[in-house]
Structure formats: structure tokens, C-alpha cells
């Protein structure tokens, strides 16, 4: 899976804020899902009219069909986004959310505006999103919005002790390894990797291994040596 792209903007007090911008691929996939749902809703509406309305009010069938389709066409995306704070069903499935260009929650006006130009974005949206670092389509530019990844955070191992001289790459690699170690099926390979990290600690800061028994479970020994906590 491709890594999520983060674009830095200046937030409150001109402090850096990294936004996980959704790219053209995930946005197009979410839109495709939404259009499939829209089609299903339109079919469902027609079925409902045929089953429930046609026997009682046959003259009103075309009226319900015209008005229903108009409301679905112009209201599905805007209605969902307004009701759920910037998400449609497709966006929920792909964990995406609409935010303002500053990362805040968009108002009703902005959500309406970005969806009123959707028909034009069917023509121009994809190339515009592909060319823009913030992946904005016409509607986003008009409303001042962005679409970002909005995945819930899972607790991850955080190092409580660090050998001197270790940089962010080493820290991120060890934390990432410890997070994945629980799910790796290749125990021998996992232990070998933990041993290599322990060797590195032995070289850089042997005092961290005082009282740590690395012979039985190297992963547990690594967690003990670096005083790992979940957070």
C-alpha cells in the first residue's frame, strides 16, 4: 500500500500542521462507490414508487420519479456531507473526510458549494486533482476545502528509553518493528531481527541491557530494555 502523503500547512499561530491529503486514487474510488450507491438508491426509489405509489396514486408516479431523481442527483453528496461532517458513504468506506484548507470543519455553505459543481468535476476533476499537490478539484477550490485521510489512531509502542545517538530513523524503525512483531508469523525471523537490534543496543548503550535476559524471548527483552509503553 502506498504511503499517505502529508502536506504541511500553517495552522493556528503559524504552527506547522501536517495534513494527510487524500490523493486522486482514493478519492476517485470513494466517488465510484458513491455513484454506485446513488444508482442503487435511484433503483430503490423507482421500485418503491412502482410498489407503493403506483397502485394508490398512478397519476403521481412520474412526479415522484422526476422530483426523486432531482433530489438524489443534487442532494446525495451535499446531504451526506452536511449530515456527517464531511463524509459520504464512499468516503466513510475509504476513511476520508472533507476539511477546510486549514484543517478545520467545513460549514454548510462550503459543503454545498463543493457539491454544486460536481457535474463539471466529472469532466475536469481528475486531471485537476492529479496536477495539484493538495489534490483539489474545482469544487474544493471554490469552497476552500480539502479531502484528508481520517483513520482512527491505534495505540502503538512508544520507547521510554533511547540509546544515545539514535536518530528518528532508528527510533521509527524500532517502534514500527515492535508494533508489527505481535502479528508476524515467522517467529524465527522476528527473533533474529530483535537480536540484531539488541546487538546494536549492546554496542551503543550496554547499560540499557543490565538485568535483561535476552536468551528466552528477544522481543520481550527489547521491550524491557527500551521500557516500551503502549500509547
Amino acid at each position: 500500500m502506498a504511503a499517505i502523503r502529508h502536506e504541511s500547512i500553517l495552522g493556528l499561530d503559524n504552527i506547522r500542521l501536517d495534513l494527510p491529503v487524500a490523493s486522486v486514487g482514493s478519492r476517485s474510488l470513494a466517488a465510484l462507490l458513491d455513484y454506485l450507491i446513488l444508482m442503487a438508491l435511484a433503483l430503490g426509489w423507482i421500485l418503491l414508487i412502482v410498489i407503493a405509489i403506483a397502485p394508490l396514486l398512478p397519476a403521481w408516479v412520474p412526479v415522484f420519479a422526476i422530483v426523486g431523481w432531482f433530489l438524489l442527483e443534487w442532494g446525495y453528496f451535499a446531504g451526506f456531507e452536511i449530515a456527517t461532517g464531511g463524509r459520504t458513504v464512499g468516503k466513510m468506506a475509504l476513511a476520508l473526510r472533507v476539511v477546510t484548507a486549514e484543517g478545520g470543519s467545513p460549514g454548510t455553505g462550503a459543503l454545498l458549494s463543493r457539491n454544486l459543481v460536481r457535474s463539471l468535476d466529472l469532466l475536469f476533476g481528475v486531471p485537476l486533482m492529479a496536477l495539484d499537490p493538495l489534490s483539489r478539484r474545482l469544487g474544493d477550490r471554490l469552497a476552500g476545502t480539502l479531502v484528508v485521510h481520517d483513520r482512527g489512531r491505534e495505540a502503538a509502542p512508544v520507547l521510554g528509553r533511547v540509546p544515545p545517538g539514535w536518530g528518528p530513523r532508528e527510533l521509527a524503525a524500532v517502534e514500527s518493528f515492535l508494533a508489527r512483531a505481535r502479528t508476524l508469523e515467522d517467529t524465527a525471523g522476528t527473533w533474529a531481527m530483535a537480536d540484531r537490534i539488541l546487538d546494536r543496543i549492546r554496542r551503543d548503550a550496554p547499560e540499557l541491557l543490565a538485568g535483561v535476559d535476552a536468551r528466552r524471548d528477544p522481543v520481550a527483552a527489547l521491550r524491557q530494555a527500551l521500557q516500551v509503553e503502549e500509547g
Binding site: 504552527i15 422526476i66 422530483v67 461532517g85 486549514e102 484543517g103 459543481v117 477550490r141 539514535w166
Partner: protein, 321 residues
Amino acid sequence: MDYARFVRLRRPVWDVFERRLAASRRRRRDEGYEELEEMALRYRQVLHDHALAASRFPGTAAAGRLRSLALEGTRRLTGEGRERRGGLLHFFLRTFPRAFQRQLGVTGLALALFLLASLWGLVLAAARPALGLTILGPQAVQGLAEGRLWTNSLVTTVPPALSSSGIATNNLSVALMAWSGGVLAGLVPLYVILLNGLMLGAIVGVTLHYSMAGELLEFISAHGPLEITLVLVSAAAGLSLGRALVAAGDRPRALAVRDAGREALAVLLGCLPWFVVLALVEVLVSPSPELPVVLKLTVGLALESLFLALALRPVPAEPNP
């Protein structure tokens, strides 16, 4: 500061903020002033820590956690999600007239272009009567030759409910397309204005040729004035969007387009309900042979006056936030 020390010292602040965010997610009512102030303080601290972690410890679990907290905090505490809501009455009595009056110049331009195009259509139709065949089709022209307007079929062959829903959704779609097409440098609203003007002028010209212009004007007297006004106002809102895009002035283009978009949206939303009223008038009043011309004209003028009175009513300037 090393990573472990940074995490040890700052983690309690992150934990408190995370708990507050979780409580805020669960709670349906808005936070009180003190809760909000406390959250804002913690948010600032988290934002600072996020910036530090993103530059000093990128890719670490703490940086990931802080990014997630900063993002959710920003979304919950900033933005337009909690903008003032005055309800529909406030919108139609304040927001819409204010936005409408600010774009009066563009609306005037739209009206001038429409009148020019109508005149051109009228001249064209007078010079080439065969144009009617192209615009209206052979059946309608045959009807005109026999002294019948094609509009009679609106009520004689189609049930009124179907006609009015068709007319309303069609007019709404035209207005929405004219508005949204403004983002293409105003080209779509320009096309809508010119095409509608040309068609109206040409149709009046064709009916003049068959001595049926009086009947046509009678038919459109109840709904025509406001329908034309609404299409022009929606298209003018689209033109405002196009103007902001093409000539942003000394402001950043993105900001100019965003602000113009908000104002144009208020104008469009203020027009939309009138299209539904008009569709009913067009089906129930306009084609009715029993209703006298004076009554139809009165309905048309009353609707137009009501809309303009609402749109042009004096509104105090928006207070600075």
C-alpha cells in the same frame, strides 16, 4: 531534548487532550466556556508538540499520535462547522438581500446582455421567419398558423402536477448549471444569458409574424417576469464567480474565489424556492383561459415586486466578527 525525555514530559498533556476529545465526541451539546478554554489551551500545547515532533522525530509513534491529535483538535475547534445559525428567516431577510445587493452591478450587466440578445433574436426572427421552424419545430409552427399556441399542450395533454414538477426541476437545473458553470471563467452563465435572451426574442418575433404575440405575452405575463429575473440573478451569481477567478485583484486567487463562492451561493439559495412557486403559477395560472389577462399580469407583477422588495430591502451592514 531526546525522544524519551520528550515523551515522558509531554505525554500527560497529550493524554488529557485525548480524553477531552473523546468526551467531546460522546457529548451532544456544545462545550461550556471553561471546558472550551481548557481544550483550546491543551490544543495549542499539542499543536506545538506536533510541530516539534514532526521536525525532530518524524516517523515515530509519538509524532504519529500527535499528528492524529492535532488533526482532530483542529477539526473540532476551528473551521466553520459551528458558524452562527440564524435560521431560514435570518437567511432570507438578511443574508440573501445583502449578497444580492452586493452583486447588483453584475446583475445589471447580465440584464443588459440578455436584452441585447433578445433584441438580436427579435431582429433575426423578423428578418428570417423560417427561423421559427428551427426553434419551435413544425408542429408548433403549424399550431401558430392555425391560431393556437404550443403552450396549450402544457395543461391539455399533461397532468398539472407532472408539468409543474418537470418545469420546476428543469428551471432549477438551468439555474444550478448557470451558477456552477461560473467556475469555468463565467463562460456557462454567459451562454445561459445569451441563449435565453436570443430564444425569447426569436420566439416573440415568430409569434409576431403569425399575429400571436399578444397570446404569448398573455401566457408569460404571470410567470415570465420573475422566471427571467431568477435565471438572470442565478447566472449573474455565476458570473461573479467567474470574475473572481479571472480578475482576483490584489488578493490571492484562492481566497477571492472562495469568498465570491460564498456570496454567490447565498444569492442562488435565495432564488431556488421561487422556482417552485413559479412552476405552480406556470401550470395553474398562465395557461388558464378562464383567468383574465389583468389578473395574470397582476400575479406576475406581484411576484416580481415581492421578490425584488425582499432582495432590495435595506439591510444593516454585517457586524465585524
